[in-house]
């Protein structure tokens, strides 16, 4: 796995030209993993910028993460309400213009609701919330968020959700496969009945990535799963932006 880069050198000048690379982390009402994601961003050597759902202003960040949780209580449908929040108007616009956007768990659900990513998430096939360390294969190492991994690399990061079953119609699934847009696949066991074992996908341009497992919970050796397999998501974005 990627070693933790020293913050002194890793950040470098972001493309915004204002010193450190700035990664925005959105808080919706009911978001839970925003502080964890900010910590992961900092550990990777970037600057974490809190973004508020009511605020359209992205504060000149270079990339955005939509963290996990139960935004608006997941009432109606996971991600269905957040998708209409003011901040998402700007995120959708910027994502289409190429800004790297990562949706984790509830963030992935929001991204599918906005149609930045295809498909939808249904309740797990066993109908229970599940929390476990999950093995994944990185299928696409060319996205903005996976550049630090090798294609085919196996990683373990925590999974925790109740609405995690990825579904899409056959044509969409075939398209995702053909275009190499399945970014992560569940290994060993499919924990929720996701079609074709899909754990995460990317858009065509590779700047928008969504996945159900939580890389921000696998960034420190003593905490959580005790692995650091998730840190690569956040160092990937630094590498991508600094080299851009």
């Amino acid at each position: 796995m990627t070693a933790r880069p020293s913050p002194a050198t890793a950040g470098g000048d972001g493309p915004s030209g204002r010193g450190n690379t700035r990664v925005g982390v959105i808080t919706f009402p009911g978001t839970l993993d925003d502080r964890d994601t900010q910590r992961a961003v900092r550990l990777a050597g970037a600057e974490a910028v809190p973004l508020w759902h009511r605020d359209k202003d992205l504060k000149q960040v270079d990339a955005v993460v939509l963290p996990g949780g139960f935004s608006y209580g997941d009432y109606l449908r996971a991600g269905a309400i957040s998708r209409f929040s003011p901040v998402m108007e700007t995120v959708i616009e910027q994502a289409r213009a190429g800004m790297p956007v990562l949706g984790i768990c509830n963030g992935f659900q929001v991204l599918t609701e906005t149609h930045l990513l295809p498909g939808a998430m249904l309740r797990n096939n066993h109908l229970h919330f599940i929390c476990r360390d999950q093995k994944l294969r990185v299928e696409n190492a060319n996205t903005s968020w996976t550049a630090e991994y090798e294609a085919g690399q196996e990683i373990s990061i925590p999974l925790k959700n109740i609405d995690g079953r990825y579904v899409a119609d056959e044509r969409t699934l075939d398209m995702l496969e053909a275009e190499g847009r399945v970014a992560f696949r569940y290994l060993d066991t499919n924990p929720n009945g996701s079609l074709r074992d899909i754990a995460g996908i990317t858009n065509e341009a590779g700047n928008v990535v969504g996945l159900m497992p939580h890389p921000e919970h696998a960034v420190e050796p003593l905490i959580g799963s005790g692995r650091t397999d998730g840190l690569g998501f956040f160092t990937s974005i630094l590498k991508k932006l600094v080299n851009a």
Binding site: P29, R35, R39, F70, G73, D74, C131, K160, H217, I223
Partner: protein, 749 residues
């Protein structure tokens, strides 16, 4: 109909009032009249009835609970003790930790999902009300027999409720227990614990001070749910045309509670709050009377200003409603605007409903007329106190005489092996990962250890690696055999579990689950258990910071086993020194610490193999427990052990199986000369643990134990892919894994 104002009450002294339907006894009602010098208004009667209930007033338990104060050990760690929403403990570096365990037993039987969910919600609000950010929850649970049909109704609902609520709040669930026993059939125990952390200067208390300060009710709107007893609705005094008999179990909204947490913490951070109280049992009646009675002045409340979900609620119902996700804050007038702005930011409804006054009365108005005029202390603190009769039950001697040490034992090694497999696959000893896997234990990114580790551990400072640990334990079987010893065994086990992970035990919270206090036998169990726990805490130096009593856990004449659940909180200076249970490194030596005696009374073996409960529980030696804990903590700090696991129910073999499966490595065990392998494997003598010692540390470890007088036995080595009890039997890990992990899903999934 006429509004029952204070004036009206004075003018109509002889009206019949529904005190009995509200649960008051005749003498209690007379006492209220005596306090007020007139009959109470309907609203006052509502307040006194809920606040003087067993649940709120501790009227049967008070006389015993005071021992926790009288016998409290000297402790520099205690910042806030019994009586507040939760106790607060100093953990160093300027941090304070608050923690508490509460019961939500009865509602969880009636409606498992909501009962358990709102149990989590309530304990978390107690933590916020102290000024702390909640950082973790734990859930000690007890159900009827695993294969009883009703357990399949209650358990999945309870687990989903805890997960559905706690997961949505973003609190890692790091510990607890699940126990099955037929005695809990119809009376499941759903206890919920929470921990919070704050800086010393941020401690907040439930008191209303400063004349002119505003009382703000914020959070969910008040509805007709959870109205105590609901009997007031049926009484003729009130309008019969409107909806009545609403559910007595509250309905939770974790999303609302998450917003409540965030906006409360933001208000604390800006120092906007003078006093704060959550609304739990007895709702506004409790919050207003407690805030007022703990403060320096009185309070005036305009009940018309309370935001309602149901506009037809009567003032009595508003005062008694237990709608969830509500809090009450006292704020200086100049800060009200900012407080309301923060609530608006988080989409939380907030309303000024009153103010602190110069006087010493709690005055509540409805449509401009006074409907409550009381001394709040008489409502909140001067409830009845009962010295209930108690007596050692006649059957206690026979129970203790029915010695488990005399039960038939395995005849040969094959039978011993078969009994090991039966034990580790029995519902109580089997892996609970089907349950705990439904709880988020990663959220917040600070979880160092979570179940099935000996204690849950959370980092509280990223720079210094300071952490806290918590373990909850309780053994109703031991406590039934001997309540005094059983309570001390619960304390000893939780203390040992915290120490086994490397943390230093600091303080205790408890949840005391018993049958009916009106039964002298139950009352004796209760009195003995408290005496045992209070004596134990004094000897261990761990003060009881608060807790909860749940009585009436019984159906007809059959009470549950007396079940004091003890939570021990500990601190660890550097979480990188934490000790897990996993045997992960081949070649490391396995040591058994402590003495193993022939102690099978109340043991898991006697239950699984013989369905037997009798004899005496294992003896307690609290001095030994302290020594063992010191050794475990030192060994962890100095890197002398890299795994440790306490020995409790199921004895040595259970601990070995758990440590081996967790680490994915086997163990070769040599039964020491002259030791009966059966006793070695199954006895549940207290004060013991197993540790894995790297060979390079063996000498140093032995020197330390020898110098401090702790008996140790080298019993084997981590090796291979099976547990091999040499000269007896061996079982492959793959077989143990199936036995241990498939039981619970097979019953419940």
């Amino acid at each position: 109909m006429t509004l029952d104002t204070v004036k009206h009450a004075t003018e109509t002294p002889d009206i019949d009032q529904p005190w009995a339907e509200l649960g008051l006894k005749q003498d209690e009602y007379e006492r209220v009249r005596e306090i007020l010098g007139r009959r109470p208004t309907g609203a006052e009667l509502a307040m006194y009835s809920v606040m003087w209930s067993e649940h709120c007033s501790y009227k049967s338990s008070k006389v015993h609970l005071k021992q926790f104060g009288e016998k409290a050990p000297q402790s520099d760690a205690l910042l806030v003790g019994i009586g507040e929403n939760a106790g607060v403990v100093d953990v160093g570096q300027g941090y304070a930790v608050t923690f508490k365990v509460e019961s939500h037993n009865h509602p969880s039987y009636v409606e498992p999902y909501q009962g358990a969910a709102t149990g989590v919600g309530g304990i978390v609000r107690d933590i916020i009300a102290m000024g702390a950010r909640p950082i973790a929850v734990v859930d000690p649970l007890r159900f009827g027999a695993a294969d009883h049909p009703d357990t399949k109704r209650v358990l999945p609902g309870v687990v989903s409720g805890i997960g559905g609520y706690g997961n949505c709040l973003g609190l890692p669930n790091i510990g607890g227990e699940t126990v099955f026993d037929a005695c809990y059939q119809g009376n499941p125990l759903v206890n919920a614990g929470a921990i919070g952390v704050m800086r010393h200067e941020d401690i907040h208390l439930a008191k209303a001070s400063g004349s002119g300060n505003k009382v703000i009710l914020y959070g969910a709107r008040t509805g007709g749910d959870g109205i105590g007893g609901a009997s007031i609705l049926a009484s003729e005094t009130f309008d019969e045309a409107k909806p009545s008999k609403r559910p007595a179990v509250q309905v939770g909204d974790p999303f609302q509670e998450k917003l409540l947490i965030e906006c409360t913490l933001e208000a604390f951070a800006e120092k906007l709050v003078v006093g704060i109280q959550d609304l739990g049992a007895a709702g506004l009646s409790c919050a207003t009377s407690e805030l007022a009675s703990n403060g320096s002045g009185g309070m005036r409340v305009e009940l018309d200003d309370v935001p309602l979900r149901d506009s037809t609620l009567s003032p009595e119902e508003i005062l008694m409603s237990e709608s969830q996700e509500r809090m009450c804050a006292v704020v200086e007038p100049s800060k009200v605007e900012r407080f309301l702005a923060i609530c608006e930011k988080w989409d939380v409804t907030a309303t000024v409903i009153g103010e602190v006054t110069d006087g010493d009365r709690l005055e509540i108005f409805w449509h401009g007329e006074m409907i409550v005029d009381v001394d709040p202390r008489t409502v909140a603190h001067d409830g009845p106190v009962y010295e209930r009769p108690y007596a050692r039950p006649a059957w206690q001697d026979a129970l203790q005489a029915d010695d488990a040490n005399k039960l038939a034992r395995p005849a040969d090694a094959d039978e011993l092996r078969a009994q090991v497999l039966r034990l580790v696959s029995s519902p109580n000893q089997a892996s609970k990962s089907w349950i705990t896997g439904q709880y988020d234990h990663f959220v917040q990114g600070n979880t160092v250890l979570a179940q099935p580790e000996d204690s849950g551990m959370i980092r509280i400072d990223e720079d210094t690696n300071l952490g806290v640990a918590i373990a909850t334990d309780g053994n109703g079987r031991f406590t039934k055999l001997d309540p005094y010893t059983g309570a001390q065994l619960a304390l000893a086990e939780a203390y040992r579990n915290v120490a086994a992970t490397g943390a230093k035990p600091l303080a205790v919270s408890d949840c005391l689950n018993f049958g009916s206090p009106e039964d002298p036998a139950v009352m004796w169990q209760f009195a003995e258990a408290i005496r045992g726990l209070a004596d134990g805490c004094l000897e261990m130096g761990t003060p009881v910071t608060g807790g909860n009593v749940s009585l009436y856990n019984q159906t007809g004449e059959a009470a549950i086993h007396p079940t004091p659940v003890v939570a021990v909180l500990g601190v660890i200076d550097d979480i990188s020194r934490r000790t897990p249970i996993a045997f992960a490194d081949e070649g490391h030596l396995i040591y058994l610490l402590g003495d193993t005696k022939e102690e099978l009374g109340g043991s898991a073996w006697s239950q699984v193999v013989h369905d037997h409960l009798g004899g005496l529980p294992p003896a307690v030696d609290l001095g030994r427990e302290k020594l063992l804990a010191e050794i475990l903590i030192s060994a962890s700090r100095d890197g002398m052990v890299d795994a440790a696991h306490d020995l409790s129910d199921g004895g040595l073999i259970q601990a070995l199986v758990e440590s081996c499966l967790r680490g994915g490595k086997g163990a070769r065990i040599v039964v020491p000369d002259g030791v009966d392998p059966f006793v070695l494997l199954f006895s549940e003598s207290a004060g013991r643990a197993i540790v894995a010692v790297p060979r390079s540390e063996e000498l140093r470890f032995n020197d330390m134990c020898g110098a401090r007088g702790l008996p140790t036995t080298r019993i084997g080595v981590i090796d291979g892919t099976e547990i091999d009890i040499q000269g007896q039997f061996s079982i492959p890990l793959s077989e143990l894994k199936v036995a241990h992990e498939e039981t619970i899903p097979a019953i419940l999934a």
